[in-house]
Symmetry: C2
Subunit: 389 residues, 2 copies
């Protein structure tokens, strides 16, 4: 078996995005032990950086030792008890997964089903409260499968009015899209490093506020999972430093550097950049006669789902992009299989260069697949968009 020799892809799919060179360098730093005084500093710094990025005062802002699905499971298995009623917006693959996980952990889901690509309204949430005893609302802010951005602020208010908790999946939005944990009143939120943070997957940000931690501490039934038990994880990450498990040290090195990069750029500037590049992409897509899977207002800047035109084989187009340009674009998932391409513009991958390049590349691939677009229309619309800024 030979030495590893991966191709140098441009990762414009649904994630992972490309690793930032500074993150790769941080991960190649000498590894220390998980209880080393230096690592304890790194843990504290990482917690502080996470709190800043999540815009929360919560001290329980830590990376779960696993990928985004681990962070989802950790949140749900700590918060949901047998028989708990949970309102879930079900409008995409990850929303469905949340609902499935809640059921697996004994919860009873009250599901608000929507077309994949649509969002859940505050009125729908309020109606669900009126007809249930829900103590938790679970929503995906950035639905990676559909490219929809779920508004949260009003829903957070309603949730609090009903004395329930709000759990939010921010896997594909964290540091790329507006997310105000404390100001809006999100109680539990998790994300993943391989999206807008340009960091390899393996240690996944979670923040849990006091209201939510009190619920966890006062459960009627014990938490089955030891690995994900927030009360134990807290004792490892707070002053007690009680051994719980060996943290994925090098992944945390990477996450720390990725957060440092995000905060250096400034969250506001970073969010504006994601919005601007997404709007330029959408301008290009529409000028070329293609269409998005989402309404303009709810298009997720970090993940742009473009409808595959009638008669075009989506996989062949993606294969051309891979073979000709070493570029990954995401396939449709679940209900949207073969119906959309998912173009991720995440973190450093959200750039003018990538917007123009992916529009050009898509035009080439579609022409080769016998579906010519108006030559140069897409890229010129994007250039126009940028010039207007």
């Amino acid at each position: 078996m030979e030495e590893l020799n991966p191709p140098d892809r441009l990762l414009l799919g649904a994630g992972p995005s490309n690793v930032h060179p500074r993150v790769a360098r941080a991960m190649a730093s000498p590894m220390v032990g998980h209880l080393d005084p230096y690592f304890i500093e790194v843990m504290d710094e990482t917690k502080n950086l996470l709190s800043k990025a999540f815009k929360t005062r919560s001290k329980f802002s830590i990376p779960v030792s696993g990928t985004g699905t681990a962070a989802m499971e950790a949140s749900i298995c700590n918060l949901v008890e047998e028989g708990d009623e949970v309102i879930v917006g079900v409008n995409g693959f990850f929303a469905e997964r949340m609902a499935e996980m809640i059921r697996r952990w004994g919860g009873k889901t009250i599901e608000i089903k929507k077309r994949w690509g649509d969002i859940v309204t505050k009125e729908e949430i309020e109606d669900a409260f009126k007809t249930s005893d829900a103590n938790l609302v679970a929503l995906v802010q950035a639905e990676t499968s559909t490219g929809a951005l779920q508004p949260l602020e009003d829903i957070a208010k309603i949730t609090r009015a009903y004395d329930a908790l709000l759990l939010v999946d921010a896997v594909t939005s964290f540091t790329g899209v507006e997310l105000e944990i404390d100001e809006w009143g999100v109680d539990i939120c998790y994300s993943s490093p391989q999206k807008c943070l340009n960091c390899p997957p393996g240690a996944s940000p979670v923040t849990v506020n006091d209201r939510a931690m009190n619920r966890v501490r006062n459960r009627k039934t014990p938490i089955r999972s030891l690995y994900f038990d927030f009360t134990l994880i807290e004792r490892y990450w707070n002053e007690r430093r009680m051994y719980h498990h060996t943290a994925p040290i090098v992944n945390i090195y990477g996450l720390r550097e990725a957060l440092r990069l995000a905060l250096e750029e400034g969250l506001e500037a970073r969010i504006a950049k994601h919005r601007r590049n997404s709007e330029a992409l959408v301008a290009g897509v529409e000028a070329a006669g293609l269409s998005m899977n989402t309404e303009k207002e709810f298009t997720l800047p970090s993940l742009n789902a473009i409808r595959v035109p009638e008669g075009v084989d989506d996989a062949k187009v993606r294969q051309i992009l891979l073979d000709l340009f070493n570029m990954e674009v995401g396939a449709g998932l679940g209900e949207l299989k073969k119906q959309v391409w998912r173009v991720g513009l995440m973190g450093m991958n959200s750039s003018e260069r990538n917007v123009l390049f992916v529009l050009e590349a898509l035009e080439v691939a579609l022409r080769l697949e016998g579906h010519p677009l108006k030559k140069g229309a897409a890229v010129h619309a994007a250039i126009d968009y940028y010039n207007l800024q």
Copy 2:
């Protein structure tokens, strides 16, 4: 907050061990997507390497996306159902953790309690079967907290005679100590990459044979965890490539390279090396008038627990090693807190150089702490041991 700048420790503690330069280089390779054709090759190669290293024909030899505790939890939450009786050897921190996890997941533990440092005998296992309906035996082969090596071959035979399954924790033994999954008849085994594999933690080897997978597939109750559900993980890692979660891609790059290194060296040679260096260390320890926590026959070559002499402050000695030599040696854990130093000689860290150095360093530290040993006795005994080889 400044750039990461960790000290360059020599990690001779309970793990992690130092990262092999080739593993670090592999992890710095360009990251591809988790469904990229290149990554699918890497997945297949990693499975093959894992099967070889575990010495099994089982196709379900995969890395769980988390640390060693995640691999423990994955094994237990798939195998144990509410009310199942499980025989557990309880003779150390990780054995106790296994028992706790089994109880959390609804199992009823039949515990064989031993002094921390002793092993469980086949007679004790047989007695436990005679007085229970156990369908699973859970043992730690390499008890990181005590330095004891648990023999498995005879116990595996008894377990099979009672038509039960054998679950083994090989976190600190995998590729450093003899482990014959198929030949002995171990049904489920998990490990961790940051011990004898010299790879950062984050993706943890697990192997499950057909007997065990059949039990998982035919559970009476569904598996609560989605993240750890072996039936779903199998569909992602086998030909179906069904998306389950984003694998920790870069950690798997590292694991693949670490396994390649282990197999290049040859398992037999590697195991002999671990034994030789441990014996040299023990010879030095005893010549210096110190003693081990375990009987010679059951001393774990990868993790050597030395008793802290009466009147010596174990933490001060470890601090001297850290400050003076940038060397980590492990503290005692749980019942053995303050009673032992745990000297890890794992993978490339199991070397003549490190044995001589740690003996010298311990002598210096003990002298500084007012507990002088006979000058040079330890290191000379180790040199003598090597000369005799």
